[in-house]
């Protein structure tokens, strides 16, 4: 069996084990409605995870996704509150803001050559600060949350019955993300840049462009995430998405994307996002202190990373031995 297929099955197995665990302890876990809710909760981190997976495959990281979401939402909130611009155009402006955030990240990392971690940590601060600067204030000048409850916007938080639009978007974006990764030159280039940039360069791949596009995809995904989130909340605040950047990264890692670059795929991230949502949901169902959730998440991530390092070395060794056996 191929390594990738096996790794996918392992992610699925972990998810199944988690679900069995919670369904034994709580009757309300394994119900159709709860499952659909889990998918809904997984959707936004999963959508952003598509872009983040691209960036991690190039051996980068993006810490600014939560702040990007906040900035996108706050720009839209200003338009919503102070102008008569129609909702669809407001949404397009929001997506444009996400695009610009991606471009900024890409330039900082690929053109100014900042380490990804520091570069996006800095832009995270900048995007968040910009959000505060343009935040909508009440008569006393205090930052307030902004209602965005027009029916043609709030519909984004709904769905066909219990199949939420955001879940549909999650599945569609995942499929597109996987196709782009496997069937376009850009997708192949992501792996090439992440695994051996020198070889990529010798093959005529534009490394800077590839990395910038990856960050733009993250920005766009974060904008889509922000739109669905605010549509569901029917409001936004300057605090939107704080600490959220952790979730898409965690989803990627659990799905087998290697933080050292070169390995991973969107299907893994999809499963990883659902895993995280199921974990959160289960912890709530068991009425455990939600603080434990973070402990459990952290421990699981550590275990998965250790497992992956071991798994990859074992698989490589096995394959090399097999190849050597063939030669002999």
């Amino acid at each position: 069996m191929k390594q990738q297929t096996l790794r996918r099955l392992i992610s699925l197995g972990m998810l199944a084990a988690l679900c069995i665990f919670f369904s034994v302890l709580s009757k309300s876990f394994l119900t159709a409605n709860n499952m659909l809710e889990i998918v809904r909760d997984a959707a936004v981190p999963g959508i952003i995870g598509v872009g983040v997976t691209y960036v991690i495959i190039t051996s980068g990281i993006d810490l600014s996704t939560g702040a990007t979401m906040a900035l996108v939402a706050m720009v839209m909130a200003n338009i919503y509150k102070y102008t008569l611009i129609p909702i669809p155009i407001m949404i397009l402006v929001g997506i444009l803001v996400g695009f610009v955030c991606g471009v900024v990240n890409g330039l900082v990392v690929a053109k100014l050559h900042l380490p990804e971690f520091i570069g996006t940590l800095a832009t995270m601060g900048i995007f968040r600060a910009l959000t505060y600067i343009i935040a909508v204030r009440d008569a006393n000048g205090t930052i307030s949350s902004v209602a965005m409850n027009h029916s043609s916007y709030a519909i984004l938080g709904k769905g066909f019955g219990r199949i939420y639009f955001v879940s549909i978007a999650f599945v569609v974006i995942t499929i597109i993300g996987q196709i782009v990764l496997k069937y376009t030159r850009f997708g192949t280039n992501l792996y090439a840049v992440g695994a051996n940039p020198k070889a990529a360069e010798l093959s005529g791949i534009n490394i800077a462009r590839t990395r910038i596009i990856a960050y733009i995809v993250v920005g766009l995904c974060a904008a889509i995430g922000a739109i669905f989130t605010t549509g569901r909340l029917q409001s936004t605040t300057a605090l939107l998405g704080e600490g959220f950047e952790f979730n898409p990264i965690a989803a990627s890692v659990i799905g087998g994307v290697s933080l050292s670059g070169g390995y991973g795929e969107i299907i893994g991230t999809f499963i990883g996002a659902i895993f995280m949502a199921a974990l959160e949901n289960g912890v709530l169902k068991l009425q455990m202190n939600t603080a434990y959730q973070y402990v459990i998440k952290g421990v699981i991530i550590i275990m998965v990373v250790i497992f992956d390092a071991w798994f990859n070395s074992v698989m490589e060794k096995k394959a090399q031995e097999a190849a050597a056996g063939k030669e002999a």
Binding site: Q3, I179, K182, Y183, T184, R185, G187, T188, N189, Y191, A192, G194, A195, N196, K198, A199, A200, L202, S203, G204, I205, G262, Y263, M315, E316, A319, Q320, A322, A323, A324, K326, E327
Partner: protein
């Protein structure tokens, strides 16, 4: 087979780096369908010449002709367009991708904008079949050993219809069997009309493969030999120049024989065969030289004895006590280690001489078991500067800003503050100018005269013969020859290291 049509010609090439001439009036030509070897000692200008041909460096003067027309090459992309592919020593493949993806990286066949995987696999299988490589198009490169990865890179070069392949030490990291299949492939390619520039230190390979051989010496053409003329002793003589050969080694004073064994290494082997069953003894006050080709396992052996890397079996004892194979314990026992990669492993560039010298000696400058005495630390740095004439003599100068020779003196300076019993130096004068080299030699000789065992690993034959009292030559992980330095010549060492004799 080779005809006389010339495919590539480099004429009257000149190149210098910051005023130091590296290539002078070099002429180099390759015929269609020939394997043309390029040889020369380290620093003879081989890789500079190749980098000029492949557009990595610009030339100061001269011209490059491709298929009868003068060409300007400014980047590797230009060169690829001509039909030249370079197989680098460090492989440039992408492990997470398949063989087919690697071969077509950056120019994948597409249908409706999406990559046509089927066609890509098919085309790759065709290429594989045409050249008879033992590869599978849809195999992940991560799953291939180093030899097969190299074939992937060669295949990639061939897939662009390359007419000339440049191979830089292609067998450096291959096993004997892998090398053998590479040779067969090279011969097959030649029969199909592909020209190959083959750079190697290994005479046996050059003899086996090449139709012609160009030898460079000190940045100049030393000879172009036809296959019939490739005779080991002649080639070596051409490479090192006769005059040097005969004078070296003989002038040195012979060390008084001292039979007190200090370091005793028995049956040392590692996991992957970089060194196998190595045994040797080093005596008090002896400078023991390790010769051989790059990749013979000398550095790996020393690192394992000192304890940086693990070994599988065998023992090393210092004055009868077995070592603990950890750098910390080895230092305690009286070892010093000057690594090959000075800049990354030898010192901390941003720290001053004082701090660098103190770094390995905090057990000495510790005042009362916990805090460090600034004064002791400073005194030690100043002492080192005086002992071995480090320049500039400002103890607070950042070591990263000094010349290579003085950097190396700082590295030596920190070790000589200790009560050393054995000092291992690996390529101690690489990249260091001639004056500083002499100073480093006299420091090493000084240390030996104090009874310290100095083990020197060097690829510079002149240096090996000049400094060592006794020379062990390694080849493919084993010690294959021992020489007393009074009677040895550079050719003898080189012949032993390349496996021509014995």
């Amino acid at each position: 087979m080779a005809n006389n049509e010339i495919i590539l010609e480099a004429k009257n090439i000149y190149k210098s780096f910051s005023g130091v001439p590296v290539l002078q009036d070099v002429h180099f030509e390759v015929r269609k369908g020939e394997v043309h070897a390029l040889m020369g000692e380290n620093g003879a200008g081989k890789s500079t010449l190749i980098k000029i041909i492949t557009g990595v460096y610009s030339k100061d003067a001269g011209s490059i002709w491709w298929e009868g027309k003068e060409v300007q090459v400014n980047s590797y992309a230009d060169v690829q367009k001509l039909g030249i592919a370079c197989i680098y020593q460090e492989l440039s493949v992408e492990p997470p991708l398949t063989v087919a993806q690697n071969v077509f990286l950056g120019r994948e066949p597409r249908k409706f904008g999406l990559i046509d995987h089927k066609k890509m696999i098919r085309d790759t299988e065709e290429l594989i079949a045409r050249y008879g490589f033992p590869l599978k198009a849809d195999e992940l490169v991560a799953n291939l050993g180093i030899g097969l990865r190299q074939l992937v890179e060669i295949l990639k070069g061939l897939s662009c219809d390359s007419k000339l392949l440049i191979m830089d030490e292609p067998t450096a990291s291959l096993s004997g069997k892998e090398a053998e299949s590479l040779f067969e492939i090279i011969e097959k390619l030649r029969d199909q009309g592909v020209s190959i520039i083959y750079i190697s230190h290994r005479l046996e390979e050059v003899y086996r493969l090449s139709d012609r051989l160009t030898v460079l010496r000190n940045g100049q053409n030393a000879a172009v030999l036809n296959h019939e003329q490739i005779e080991p002793r002649l080639v070596i003589k051409t490479m090192i120049g006769k005059e040097v050969d005969e004078s070296a080694g003989s002038a040195k004073e012979m060390r008084k024989n001292n039979n007190e064994v200090v370091l005793d290494v028995k049956n040392f082997s590692d996991e992957i065969g970089m060194f196998k069953n190595v045994s040797f003894q080093a005596h008090r006050g002896e400078i023991l030289g390790f010769g051989g080709l790059i990749g013979a396992g000398r550095t790996e052996l020393m690192r394992a004895i000192y304890g940086i890397d693990k070994h599988k079996s065998g023992t090393a004892t210092l004055n009868g006590v077995e070592l603990k194979y950890s750098p910390k314990e080895s230092i305690k026992a009286g070892f010093g280690f000057v690594p090959e990669d000075r800049r990354n492993q030898g010192f901390i560039p941003l720290l001053s001489t004082v701090k660098n010298v103190a770094l390995t000696n905090y057990d000495i400058v510790k005042k009362n078991g916990t805090s460090i005495s600034d004064k002791d630390e400073r005194d030690m740095g100043i002492r080192a500067i005086q002992q071995i004439d480090i320049r500039p003599d400002n103890p607070d100068k950042e070591v990263g800003l000094m010349s290579g020779g003085n950097q190396q003196k700082v590295v030596l300076g920190k070790w000589i503050q200790r009560d050393l019993k054995v000092l291992i130096v690996d390529e101690p004068t690489a990249g260091i100018d001639v004056g500083a080299k002499d100073q480093i030699y006299s420091i090493l000789e000084d240390l030996a005269s104090q009874g310290i065992v100095v083990i020197i690993v060097t690829s510079d034959l002149q240096e090996l013969i000049r400094v060592s009292h006794r020379i062990l030559v390694m080849r493919k992980g084993s010690i294959i020859k021992e020489f007393d330095s009074g009677i040895v010549t550079q050719s003898m060492v080189l012949e032993a290291g390349s496996g021509i004799v014995d």
